[in-house]
């Protein structure tokens, strides 16, 4: 049974992790519509297919639940396996990111709940909810909601902090998932490690740019 074996659990982590990465890559490309003034049109087109949107959300929820549950289980098992530390310990290869996967993951997860309530279900700031306020073309004004939200320093700080957590998680997670799936060898591993860090950096820039540019006033309505 995959879920009972140590490698099996890691494989589930790696596959669910890679699916989540795939999602956030698509999500980032979708978000970039805001730079060309196309966010409302994009959102409108996606939500024209409500059944598909809901099936997709359910699948994402399942992937997330598996990733979180097994992530917590791995963490607890690993902590138990090393009950006593050293008075002096030097890390030769482990990084801040690799040692804090559970925490960067959980903070990303907590942010996700906020993010869904904020922009998907729009219950946090109902006064700017795109579900109710429409643009000139009669579409939900997603772009206006985003612009107004990120002018608030508290809101944009939360988003920027969450993006930092996610990027740390992925700076270790991407390369780790390839190693776990056995898609690496002596020759390719150094390149995979570098590519993973670069990908995490690209995702960081792609996601941090929107709240940052709106907050410092470069991007306006």
């Amino acid at each position: 049974m995959l879920i009972k074996n140590t490698v099996g659990k890691k494989i589930i982590m790696a596959i669910t992790g890679q699916m989540l990465v795939l999602f956030i890559v698509i999500h980032m490309i979708g978000n970039s519509a805001i730079y060309v003034g196309g966010l409302n049109a994009y959102a409108d087109r996606v939500h024209a297919l409500p059944l598909l949107v809901w099936i997709f959300r359910l699948v994402m929820l399942m992937i997330f639940s598996l990733h979180i549950m097994i992530g917590i289980e791995l963490y607890l098992e690993n902590r138990k396996a090393k009950p006593e530390g050293y008075a002096v310990k030097q890390d030769l290869r482990a990084t801040f990111a690799s040692k804090n996967m559970l925490w960067t993951g959980l903070l990303t997860g907590a942010f996700l709940v906020y993010h869904l309530l904020h922009f998907t279900f729009q219950v946090i700031n109902p006064e700017i909810a795109a579900l109710r306020i429409h643009d000139a073309a009669g579409r939900p004004d997603v772009s206006g909601m985003v612009l107004q939200s990120f002018q608030n320093p508290a809101v944009s700080s939360v988003y920027i902090f969450a993006v930092i957590m996610l990027s740390l998680h992925l700076s270790h997670g991407i390369q780790s998932s390839f190693q776990t799936l056995g898609i690496s060898n002596e020759r390719t591993l150094p390149g995979i490690i570098k590519t993973g860090s670069v990908a995490a950096l690209v995702l960081f820039l792609g996601y941090v740019s929107i709240p940052l540019l709106i907050f410092i006033g470069v991007m306006k309505g």
């Binding site: 890691k10 690993n78 780790s176 690496s184 060898n185 591993l189």
Partner: protein, 249 residues
């Protein structure tokens, strides 16, 4: 040279331990680390105190008995070197040196710097072997093995089972050890036959013994005195996936 040592002392498995300070005086840079400890122990015996207990056997870097975490690194600061092959010329007069036992739930301390590593033997017992008929010695070249496979198997077989990978791993995982054994056998025709079962039972034995899961920190490779590579862990993972696709038990 003179050194200040902080060494983990623990009277027995269930006793409380702690770091104790010692002075090592007139140490020659030509000495090995273990010889330096021998000098300290002789002084202790002379003044009627109990010597520091530590594991060692061959003292030439091949048996895997020596096992000390020196200044936070298993086997000390010299790469690809066991404690017994570490020389005092890598330290300076006046240095402080912290010496601790391997730490992991699966490696309980027996006394001072000595830990019980028989959990590694039980991982081998679970599946780190091949089943053959005994009898006459087979002809040396009857089974053809490519040079590349033989080389990889030899690289993996360099593992001396010292447990430095477990000591270095923040998760106390024995994946590098297990991966070396899996690779060693899976590369050879004789080992391929039982490869699928082997990878399953050996990884299960690893968890049963209380080792942690691998999360790819790669601390193990950096600490390994025999330079066993984490690419063997990727190979173990591939062997595991292959085993899932087959349906032999």
């Amino acid at each position: 040279m003179n050194l200040t040592l902080y060494i983990w002392r623990q009277k027995g498995p269930d006793k409380k331990g702690g770091l104790q300070q010692f002075k090592a005086e007139n140490i020659s840079p030509e000495m090995s680390f273990l010889e330096m400890l021998d000098v300290v122990n002789e002084q202790l015996i002379k003044i009627g105190q109990e010597p520091i207990a530590f594991d060692h056997d061959c003292r030439e870097g091949i048996c895997g008995m020596c096992s000390q975490v020196i200044n936070g690194v298993p086997h000390g600061p010299q790469e690809r070197t066991t404690v017994c092959q570490l020389h005092m010329r890598h330290f300076k007069h006046g240095d402080s040196i912290y010496i601790e036992p391997w730490r992991a739930r699966a490696f309980p301390v027996i006394k001072d710097l000595i830990v019980d590593r028989s959990a590694l033997d039980r991982i081998i017992q679970a599946g780190g072997y091949i089943s053959v008929h005994t009898g006459g010695v087979p002809d040396a070249n009857a089974v053809l093995i490519s040079k590349k496979s033989a080389d990889t198997a030899m690289d993996a077989s360099e593992c001396i089972g010292c447990g430095a990978c477990v000591a270095a791993c923040p998760n106390g995982s024995a994946m590098l050890f297990t991966a070396a054994k899996i690779t060693h056998l899976a590369m050879l025709p004789q080992g391929k036959i039982e490869a699928a079962r082997r990878v399953c039972v050996m990884t299960e034995a690893m968890m049963r013994e209380g080792f942690g899961n691998c999360t790819n920190h790669y601390e193990c490779q950096a600490a390994c005195p025999k330079d066993i590579r984490v690419s063997f862990i990727a190979r173990l993972n591939r062997e595991f996936i292959k085993a899932q696709l087959k349906d032999t038990g």
